[in-house]
Symmetry: C2
Subunit: 252 residues, 2 copies
């Protein structure tokens, strides 16, 4: 049985892919993934690097099937890359692949990390996640809203910087507003926030606002949202969280 690799490709341009991710994809016989991500591989790799490869794509909701197809290819002796955008280990396919690997005891799965939106988005805004932070998805497709709300409340109470994935979708158009309401119970209304769109893709853009204003911000599934801690501030037009209380003084 050959290996299955869960590969994070970063935010969607080839530039922010690691050398390791690229090498692994190039070395595999089969590329599996959600249609959009496999198209990204075709865009980022050179034609000669793709020669002879097989592609397995399944749509958004068929993640379990996608994993089984990958293991079946590996059982045939093929080396398989299951590709994801961002990091395969953050809301990505590495988890499901490993869960299902229990049914294929001879399977070896290797996770190849990538730049997740918390990191690539933070870099666009400045340095919002310099200190302790929490990453929370507002999608209640696989988690109850009760649990999401509890996490938002806890993270805000303990003054974490917070990064929100999946802030809204057509079906969940008011979730960001609800989330802001919960965070405003313990974070100040003028807390510095940042929004990043289409990170590393065409149409990349960002905006800054207060937590109070974030309630009415327009977001979609290609948006990542950042909420500062009590010390986060704007410096030279960028969102910056200080490392700690001693940074106000010169250290040397």
């Amino acid at each position: 049985m050959e290996k299955v690799y869960a590969v994070g490709m970063g935010p969607g341009n080839g530039d922010q892919m690691t050398a390791e991710a690229r090498e692994v994809i190039v070395s595999c016989d089969v590329i599996a993934g959600y249609t959009v991500y496999v198209d990204l591989v075709r865009k980022v790799l050179k034609e000669r690097e793709l020669e002879g490869k097989e592609f397995i794509t399944t749509p958004m909701t068929q993640e379990v099937k996608r994993c089984r197809l990958a293991f079946e290819q590996a059982q045939k002796g093929k080396k398989v890359a299951m590709v994801c955008s961002g990091d395969a280990g953050v809301y990505g396919m590495a988890g499901l692949l490993l869960e299902i690997s229990g049914d294929y005891p001879e399977a070896e799965v290797e996770v190849v990390p990538g730049i997740t939106a918390a990191l690539s988005g933070a870099a666009v805004l400045g340095a919002p996640l310099i200190h302790d932070f929490a990453v929370i998805s507002l999608s209640d497709l696989l988690t109850s809203w009760e649990k999401i709300g509890k996490r938002l409340h806890a993270a805000a109470e303990a003054d974490f910087c917070i990064c929100l994935y999946n802030p809204s979708s057509r079906k969940r158009h008011d979730y960001l507003k609800k989330a802001c309401g919960i965070m405003l119970e313990s974070k100040a209304g003028d807390t510095v926030c940042g929004i990043v769109r289409n990170i590393g893709r065409e149409g990349e853009g960002c905006a800054f606002c207060t937590l109070e204003e974030l309630k009415d911000a327009e977001t979609d599934m290609f948006t990542t949202v950042f909420i500062g801690n009590s010390q986060t501030r704007m410096v030279n037009g960028r969102m910056v969280t200080p490392r700690g209380y001693r940074n106000d003084r010169e250290q040397e």
Copy 2:
């Protein structure tokens, strides 16, 4: 004035550096950083890529001075890369650089993200951070222990997966034990945990244990610690957090 780049090099081998980080470093006239990281640049880049470059290194506590030296070089028209291991935006130099950029209003700072230990360590263990997670540093050099304790408590209470940076040092040898005590107030004693050492470097290794056992684990400043949520479990010898409650069923 030329640009100053805050560049995250990933976990310490050239493989997990992004193409962008490498290109930026190669394109710069000056490489600034903590001595150990600048040595890493010398190791990872080819000799001809380093030709003609100037190097500025300062020891661990002189971060402010390091930033000022970088801006002074930029004022002279030099292109400067301030290098960090991991991600420059997660407990890295991007924050301080941007804070100090307030004193150099004409300065342009660009942050180039890298793979932080939460991501690279998670990949070694399996997929512990697949769902909502919190990243907390146990170093009280720049944060009060009171605040750290509050964050540990909140993150454990709300069932976050937790990744701990700087779990201990010579001076703080019992901090991990104290942190486990706080998390055990709300997390079960048999919560799955993982420890990764020297990620992407010589001597890389990992171990799994329960939260109860983690209290007495040996860690140092090259260790990153992962504590699962209530659903995290071991599958095929790897630490895996399920994406959500529906993953138990086939989805298609």
